[in-house]
């Protein structure tokens, strides 16, 4: 290459240059990503390092930006449904729910009771599968190669169950306006209850093998403490917030669907809101989701899986509405505006990962590089959700 090209490469790009050199001369500007094994998607973080300590961090987003919000304006309400499965593919059913719930709220569509229960069951199963992926990937980042295999082993059974009822393994598009697309078979109900029992026996093994391991504790304790002030300033939600001790869960704070009929606890962290607290909160959430699934399946009412008055062609009135659900990563919100046409006028997707990642830059100042990897894993990012 000619010297000019070579020099351009050395100078970095717009984002590297915008991180001006810091106070000392001996700093190194390093790009973590966008191709990197532990950034969980295409995230690029421009780091300024002094040895192994991070002086400044600047996440650069947009490598998987697909402009979902524009797609919402050019597709009809029903055509936009599959998009929701691709926003956060790990907890696709929660995004399904957020959008479907917003449309139902706007148009005044009622949901059949059996469908509400099915929505709860499948969404909680999806939450557990998302937490398995998080757990395995987090430990993989920390260097333990085996737990991800065990987690994916259990997850396979779960995905097979969900495939029976939704037809997909990952990017679900199961919810419809007024209900769900397919009813469940008794085979599914029995299989899921058996799987719940199996999981309850497996969770103590996870704890003994991994959670109680002293090396893991040293990698997670006192790493990345998020205090309440920081959590509120950035709008953090989900396990990131609950790890800091705030019992804020959308299923209790803004109850939707039939969640108030089930007994479940909201696990919170008891320490300084460090990575270990977030870790323990997510593992406890798996157990609570198992409780919800079992209760819902045992009291599943009979009835149609779609409401009789569910419209075949959706006619949206003028207006705006906001609907929020609790996803695996936090509070998912959809702000929907319609001008009476076939397509939505504006769909704003509020991703929990977006707010959770925005506190990374401040959290990671002065921290070792290896700890930054641990912090990033404990925040549980799925970059497609952040970039949309």
């Amino acid at each position: 290459m000619n010297p000019e090209q070579a020099f351009r490469n050395l100078a970095g790009d717009f984002y590297t240059r915008s991180l001006q050199p810091g106070p000392t001369e001996n700093t190194l500007i390093l790009n973590m990503g966008p191709q990197h094994p532990s950034t969980h998607g295409v995230l690029r973080i421009v780091l300024e390092l002094d040895g192994e300590y991070i002086l400044r961090a600047d996440p650069v987003l947009g490598y998987i930006h697909r402009m979902h919000e524009k797609m919402g304006e050019v597709k009809t309400f029903a055509q936009y449904l599959p998009n929701m499965g691709r926003v956060d593919y790990l907890h696709a059913l929660a995004w399904n729910w957020a959008y479907v719930g917003a449309v139902e709220k706007l148009c005044g569509v009622e949901v059949s009771e059996r469908a509400e229960y099915l929505r709860v069951v499948t969404s909680e199963m999806n939450r557990i599968s998302s937490h398995f992926v998080w757990w395995g990937a987090y430990l993989l980042d920390l260097g333990a190669f085996t737990p991800i295999m065990y987690a994916f082993d259990d997850r396979e059974w779960l995905l097979d169950l969900l495939q029976i009822v939704t037809g997909s393994r990952l990017t679900y598009c199961y919810f419809r306006f007024g209900g769900v697309s397919d009813d469940v078979t008794p085979e599914f109900v029995e299989g899921t209850l058996k799987w719940c029992e199996h999981m309850r026996e497996r969770l103590p093994m996870y704890k003994a093998l991994v959670t109680d391991n002293v090396i893991l504790r040293n990698r997670c304790e006192e790493i990345g403490p998020i205090d309440l002030d920081m959590a509120r300033r950035y709008g953090a939600t989900g396990p990131v917030l609950r790890g800091s001790g705030v019992a804020y869960d959308v299923r209790r704070a803004e109850p939707y669907s039939v969640y108030d009929r089930f007994q479940f606890e909201i696990p919170v962290g008891t320490g300084a809101g460090d990575a270990m607290d977030r870790y323990l909160v997510r593992l406890a959430e798996i157990e609570q989701s198992l409780n919800i699934i079992e209760q819902a399946l045992k009291t599943l009412p009979e009835g149609p899986h779609m409401h009789e008055k569910a419209p075949k062609r959706l006619k949206a009135p003028k207006g705006e509405t906001y609907f929020a659900v609790e996803g695996a990563r936090g509070k998912i919100g959809v702000h929907l505006l319609s001008d009476g046409g076939k397509n939505p006028y504006r769909v704003k997707l509020r991703a929990p990962g977006f707010s959770n990642l925005s506190l990374f830059a401040e959290l990671v100042r002065g921290v070792l590089l290896a700890d930054a990897v641990s912090i990033l894993g404990s925040l549980d990012m799925v970059i497609p959700e952040i970039d949309r």
Binding site: M1, A6, L28, L30, H36, P37, S38, E52, L139, L140, D141, L142, G143, A144, F145, T146, M149, Y150, D153, N213, I215, L216, N218, R219, L368, L369, A370, D371, V373
Partner: protein, 328 residues
């Protein structure tokens, strides 16, 4: 030609033959060890490991070796060509030398009988650090640089408890000659040095994990943090040589551990090189077991373990052994 000249010639031939034999030994060992690691990893992770190539996947490593040799040797732009390609060789060469004083069996199965076998091994295993440092520096890659810096700090740090624990055994036996140390231990497990000095064995084993960059101390090659650490930019046989050097180093340290603590080629019924190999592979299995079970220790915690725990413990151990030797 005088007698001295003939002696020198014979010794030269002996050294060359030994080096060739050890290169072959390393080659075969690496083939077996890589397969063993992948099968062991698979079984720990509830899957069978390589299964397609050859019966039960036994020819997998051969296929991988052929593939690696066929790959393009690419030098990254801006890298220092000479240093870049010298680094793997500098890392690999000392390991071959380390096999010289190791007694594989009772008679004549040593590369080169020497009185200071222990010193030779310790000295040459320290040389491998040079290669890693050069690899990281000459790659023109920030990740490699950080990985190399970590590797150097780690290797240099963990040499000290290694040295001290080996010295403890040397004190007890009174010699640095590996054959003498082996011969001093009996055939049955309770006659091996590990029974007399279990703490030394523990310190030795942990230090070797640190020396050979094996998990849980494998930060220099931390795949999930630095992509691949100091060997990020190497492709094909360049990486293959680093790979071989790592596995060969593992075999060296396990051999030393076997000789010092587990009785070398001594065994219950018939002494011989088969017992030696069995024990070496047993120690290698434990190393692999640890790798696939534990997460990685963070870098400053790793150095803390060494400087704050292992080194004082090793010093104390040495002192106690010295006292015991003097008094008993």
């Amino acid at each position: 030609m005088n007698v001295l000249g003939i002696h020198i010639a014979i010794e030269l031939i002996q050294i060359v033959v030994a080096v060739v034999v050890f290169l072959a030994f390393i080659g075969v060992n690496v083939l077996i060890l890589v397969l063993m690691e992948r099968k062991v990893a698979g079984r720990f992770q509830r899957r069978p490991g390589p299964f397609e190539v050859g019966p039960h996947g036994s020819l997998q490593t051969l296929a991988d070796a052929v593939k690696m040799m066929a790959k393009e040797l690419h030098t990254p732009g801006g890298a220092d060509k000479i240093l870049f390609w010298a680094a793997p060789i500098i890392t690999f060469a000392p390991v071959v030398v380390c096999f010289m004083p190791v007694p594989f069996g009772p008679k004549y199965l040593t590369g080169w009988e020497m009185n200071l076998g222990v010193v030779l091994i310790l000295a040459f295993s320290g040389l491998g650090v040079f290669g890693i440092c050069l690899a990281g520096w000459s790659s023109n890659n920030k990740y490699s640089l950080i990985g190399a810096a970590r590797a150097v700090a780690q290797s240099v740090a963990y040499e000290i408890p290694l040295l001290l624990s080996v010295l403890a055994v040397a004190f007890q036996v009174g010699s640095l000659n590996l054959s003498v140390i082996t011969a001093g231990q009996g055939s049955w497990p309770w006659q091996w040095n590990v029974v007399v000095q279990p703490l030394s064995f523990f310190i030795f084993f942990v230090s070797t994990l640190g020396e050979t960059n094996r998990a849980p101390f494998d930060l220099p090659e931390a795949e999930s943090e630095l992509t691949a650490g100091f060997h990020t930019e190497y492709s094909g046989m360049g990486f293959g040589v680093f790979f071989m050097a790592e596995y060969a180093a593992m075999v060296v340290v396990c051999s030393v551990g076997t000789i010092l603590f587990l009785g070398g080629w001594n065994g219950p019924l018939v002494n011989g090189p088969w017992w030696f190999l069995a024990k070496v592979y047993g120690l290698l299995f434990v190393m692999m077991w640890l790798r696939w079970t534990f997460p990685r220790v963070r870098f400053d915690q790793l150095l803390n373990i060494n400087w704050k725990w292992l080194t004082p413990l090793a010093l104390l151990n040495l002192l106690v052994v010295a006292l015991m030797v003097k008094l008993v």
